[in-house]
């Protein structure tokens, strides 16, 4: 809920086109839920983004591997890359992004 509030405030302050949300969720389902929240709106209708379609750009950190310094990525994500189902997570977030992201 607090994160939803933070995302809403940042997008209002800087403009929706200037905000990209980077997720770190460990499962495809929860990553998809978070991606949907910052694009189409909170599907659980529980937080500040309920009914608010921000349409922000949203990526999972695993999708941004090539954009990050290799050493930093390895230090921060190398272990989890081996542990989690990165293909399923990436596919889920991409599917939401393709449907609802406007920027």
């Amino acid at each position: 809920m607090e994160n939803q509030k933070r995302v809403l405030e940042l997008s209002e302050k800087h403009g929706k086109e200037n905000v990209v949300v980077v997720l770190g969720a460990s499962e495809a389902e929860s990553a998809g839920l978070a991606a949907e929240t910052v694009t189409a709106g909170d599907p659980t209708y529980a937080g500040p983004l309920a009914g608010v379609s921000l349409g922000l750009g949203v990526y999972h950190i695993f999708e941004l591997k090539d954009e990050v310094d290799a050493d930093v990525y390895d230090e921060q994500c190398g272990m989890m890359e081996m542990v989690l189902d990165i293909d399923a997570i990436g596919a889920e977030v991409k599917s939401i992004r393709d449907q609802y992201s406007k920027f």
Partner: protein, 512 residues
């Protein structure tokens, strides 16, 4: 200097189905927000009987009648494949029924706040009389009880009800008219925590044939807070539990750290014994009513029994080296520091690999890792995944990154160095500590040589910091050698010599 050992461990579950409905936060919040909800209507038909809770395999593992890996031999879902000949009496503890527990609450009630009905006491008292650890003096304290009309009147004025199958049998009164920290609800939580902790400590004392007054210090490590409006969380559960359990030679204090608190307490206890401050330190934590039925909504939705129907509690005794019990390696301690960072990798390195590196050990040198041992049958249906398995995958991945194991060997590592989760999701209970008893058994039988006990905690829940926390300590098979008082061991001399050589080398290199 002595070496601290795990002299005994006790694990107790208290089956409290009526408390799920009235004191678990999931149900109690629903009562406030949506009192006529379908979920609340369905809860009673999803509650298990005492017998079903006893026959549930993960509960049998918790009280020491089975080892964690025995769960591999039982078909899932475990709640549909009960163990017919299971007993409430465990090798390392027991499963206590709700009615018996209400009387135990009365025995832990120092301020006459618990009222129980006359007939209920008369019909239930026998369950305590056959327990070997209740003395006649204690049993006399139960008293005759009250008329139901008196209890009904107190409940109508704000006392919290104690129910058996939804029938009123007692209540807990507020300890102050206005003080929120002494309200009836808080007093229920605290008396439950104390009373269940007392049962664990009594089991520890009785099952390990320890003299109660030999315990010199008690560290309590639950997640509750006792105190009044001027000192919320002032404590001291530890001393209160020690008093009721008959540990007359003990003082104590409370240690807090969310789920990581028991692991912190274990390290602290080991240090107190190692330093010689105390010879015998017990760590103990009672159960949490708030977490009963925490994932109940998902369990009901999926047509399962509500598996969070038991309070979880434990006690562990750390003493001077007896030459038999597993050693607590105070030199192999991991800790997540303020500066560690919060990425999963940084967290796992600080708790798992840094202490191993310091001691020249590989990830594979630890035979069993006791991580967050939540029963996956509780967490998976609620979308939280298999928590122990996720931890084992992370440790295996760290092993690959460090070159300790091949990537293709990750699955084997997980199977050999991990185990299925079996602990109730009682907050402070699942993290590391539930395996200490089983580890003791396996280390003493020679099945394993080293086990790492890992505690992890989510501090953000208290809204004081966003930091994560964690601490670990290694348990090792006893060599059988006992240090003589006042002497210095060979290892200590080696350590001192090595330290001096290191310092000298650094001096030469720095040219200072």
């Amino acid at each position: 200097m002595t070496t601290p050992v795990v002299k005994g461990a006790a694990y107790v579950l208290v089956h409290t189905p009526d408390m799920v409905m009235h004191y678990g936060t999931t149900c109690s919040v629903e009562h406030e927000v949506n009192p006529n909800s379908d979920f609340l209507k369905k809860v009673p038909e999803h509650l298990r009987t005492f017998e079903e809770a006893v026959k549930y395999a993960p509960n049998q593992v918790y009280i020491g009648n089975m080892l964690p890996n025995d769960l591999h031999g039982i078909e899932k879902p475990w709640y549909n494949n009960l163990i017919d000949d299971a007993k409430a009496e465990g090798k390392q503890g027991e499963i206590v029924s709700q009615d018996e527990f209400y009387i135990a609450m009365k025995l832990s009630d120092a301020f006459d706040l618990v009222m129980l009905e006359k007939d209920f006491i008369a019909n239930t008292k026998g369950k305590l009389e056959i327990k070997p650890y209740y003395s006649e003096v204690e049993l006399k304290k139960i008293g005759e009880g009250y008329e139901i009309a008196d209890i009904e009147e107190k409940v109508s004025k704000g006392a919290e009800p104690l129910l058996v199958k939804d029938k009123l049998v007692g209540c807990v009164k507020a300890a102050h008219e206005r003080d929120k920290n002494l309200s009836a609800h808080v007093m229920v939580e605290n008396i439950v925590s104390k009373a269940s902790g007392v049962i664990a400590l009594k089991n520890l004392i009785f099952k390990n044939d320890i003299s109660a007054d030999s315990i010199e210090y008690v560290i309590e490590c639950s997640e509750e807070a006792c105190g009044d409006m001027n000192q919320r969380g002032g404590g001291n559960f530890a001393k209160a539990i020690a008093e009721t359990a008959g540990a007359t030679g003990a003082t104590g204090s409370d240690t807090r750290g969310f789920c990581a608190a028991p692991a912190h307490a274990l390290v602290n206890a080991a240090a107190l014994v190692k330093s010689g401050v105390y010879k015998s330190v017990a760590i103990v934590a009672g159960g949490a009513t708030a977490k009963l039925g925490m994932n109940g909504r998902d369990h009901v939705q999926k047509g399962m029994p509500i598996l969070e129907d038991c309070l979880g509690t434990f006690a562990v005794l750390v003493t001077e080296n007896d030459g038999v019990s597993p050693i607590l390696r105070t030199d192999i301690v991991g800790r997540h520091t303020v500066g560690t960072g919060s990425s999963p990798q940084a967290v796992m390195e600080s708790i798992i690999t840094m202490p191993l590196d310091k001691n020249g050990l590989k990830i594979t040198d630890i035979d069993k890792y006791s991580v967050e041992m939540q029963n996956p049958e509780i967490t998976v249906p609620a979308g939280a995944g298999d928590v122990p398995l996720a931890n084992y995958k992370m440790i295996a991945a760290l092993g690959v990154k460090r070159g300790d194991i091949e990537r293709t060997a990750m699955q084997d590592f997980i199977e050999n160095h991990g185990m299925p989760g079996f602990a109730p999701t009682q907050g402070h209970i699942p993290s590391g500590i539930p395996f200490v008893g089983a580890a003791k058994e396996m280390l003493e039988s020679g099945e394993i040589d080293k086990a790492m006990i890992v505690g992890k905690g989510s501090l953000f829940l208290g809204r004081m910091t966003n930091l994560f926390d964690g601490v670990s300590i290694v348990m090792e098979r006893n060599t059988g050698k006992v240090e003589e008082a006042g002497t210095v061991s060979k290892e200590e001399i080696k350590g001192m010599v090595a330290e001096t050589i290191k310092e000298f080398a650094a001096f030469l290199l720095d040219g200072k």
